[in-house]
Symmetry: C2
Subunit: 331 residues, 2 copies
Amino acid sequence: MSSPKYAVLAIGNAIVDVIAETDDDFIKAESLNKGGMTLIDAERAKTLYSRMGPGREISGGSAANTLAGLANLDHKCAFIGQVADDQLGEVFAHDIRATGIDFAVPARAADVPTARCLILVTPDAQRTMNTFLGASQFLPASTIDPQQIADAAILYVEGYMWDPQEPRAAIRQALPLARAAGRKTAFTLSDAFVIDRYRDDFLSLMAEGAIDILFANEVEIASLAQTDDFEAAVAMAAAQVPLLVVTRGEHGAIAVRGGERVEVPAEPVEHLVDTTGAGDLFAAGVLAGLCEGRDLKQCLTMGAVCAAEVISHYGARPEADLRALISARLG
Amino acid sequence: MSSPKYAVLAIGNAIVDVIAETDDDFIKAESLNKGGMTLIDAERAKTLYSRMGPGREISGGSAANTLAGLANLDHKCAFIGQVADDQLGEVFAHDIRATGIDFAVPARAADVPTARCLILVTPDAQRTMNTFLGASQFLPASTIDPQQIADAAILYVEGYMWDPQEPRAAIRQALPLARAAGRKTAFTLSDAFVIDRYRDDFLSLMAEGAIDILFANEVEIASLAQTDDFEAAVAMAAAQVPLLVVTRGEHGAIAVRGGERVEVPAEPVEHLVDTTGAGDLFAAGVLAGLCEGRDLKQCLTMGAVCAAEVISHYGARPEADLRALISARLG
């Protein structure tokens, strides 16, 4: 097997974030699902946008954010996602390419616009996401190229992609291709509500051995295992995947690989601003560590350092030199 | 004369900023005019964008930024500028309205897109602006409503608007309307290169008594007076306008009103990030102070506080509560 061209190839939603500060009264008045991700349609997106404060537009998308972290750490990556032929699509495509990530999927006609996520950030730095999937939900399976999948050490897919039918079909096609090429597959559970809708699918994928590395946070793992007993949930999921990584916000993270279990605390953050992208960047650090052949504890620490950077500013993509931060931390 | 509905009505370019970090090598390689504003065409905008790093999109435009500062300080304002019927136009219109500013000019057909300013920020926090004026240069004189002008205590116009023909005609129509309604007019010189192109026009406006308040920085005032002798330049300009305000970056600012001359130092900034909008927010603080009937020294201090806030983060619109900062400073 040849040395892979890419560290990670990701399939994810191609989203531009629209980030605005707000207060808890607004979250309540608009009946928003605080801290979660809610899918909204075009009409609701228009109404909510008209009511929210001035925004800043920064490229986002869970898996794309993870790749931005990996690219910041000098790992070559590629992205598969669907934008429309409009200005937000140009912004997304420009930003991901300017980050050094290969992105070859052509823009779709702009009858349905590029996806956007209206993100309301409260003073506690919690982010409440309202996603209009737009063009992103029409990612066709034809964008899956067996050669590109074989060219990546790890295929990474986001659970968010399971909602729309076409991307789900694309992922169902991609996962076995990665395994057939002798590559690893990684999956992030993304959101407790997504799991609620597709628990059986996700459990089947795990049972079939389609997932080598599973990322989740503690709410998601509880939803997957349908238990509030954290240890029971971890045990259940760890039995189904070779490597399980669970983030616990300010309580750090754990990983279980066979009989090995590792735990790290969260890294200190001087000014907590916006938690958007914390999980995405944690995954970036872990995947980078795995690609570099680091031990599990170092991988988790790298994840924690990357997450700490991204929550210290608005926007879900890193602004600092992550390698320098990791070197300062790991020596 | 009735009490005005608006503190300030501004005529300016309706621009979305695309802000990316860069280094001096890039500035040199692209032959950019470091620290200045350069007008670029659609093709150059496309090329430069393709070469610059990932951006963040934040509404901008000099006079619009000034209004955002005034609105943050609870002064009711209105804006006249031209966007196109496209996604960046929606972003601009949303942001200015969400800030509480009245903006009624309908979007123009999207054959020419909304203006954008590609802003490269170097590690010294200097910003280098490359503006594609797009729809903004087609602001028709028909958007000038005599009633709206009479409704504002101050009509504020940016020198940048002098480049394209239609906005220039709009401003030429607006200035005498404000004076006829007994309102004040304020003008910002915007940029030394703009002054180079239209020095005679600007000097004529001043000589005719069309400008009550003139804003400039030290480079602009030198360009206007065609002398590097700062005091000579100030004396020349001050003789032509009732109130002259000149900002000097880290050296503070001065104002001259008849025989009165006031000077303030720059306010301290903990982390200097991006100087975009410094002059715009200085003007906001000064105009707010004037509307509140403050003395000239307090007006300048308010300007300095507002400028210090906006250069401590990316983006040319305030993120903090300016009134709280001013209260802390002035007591």
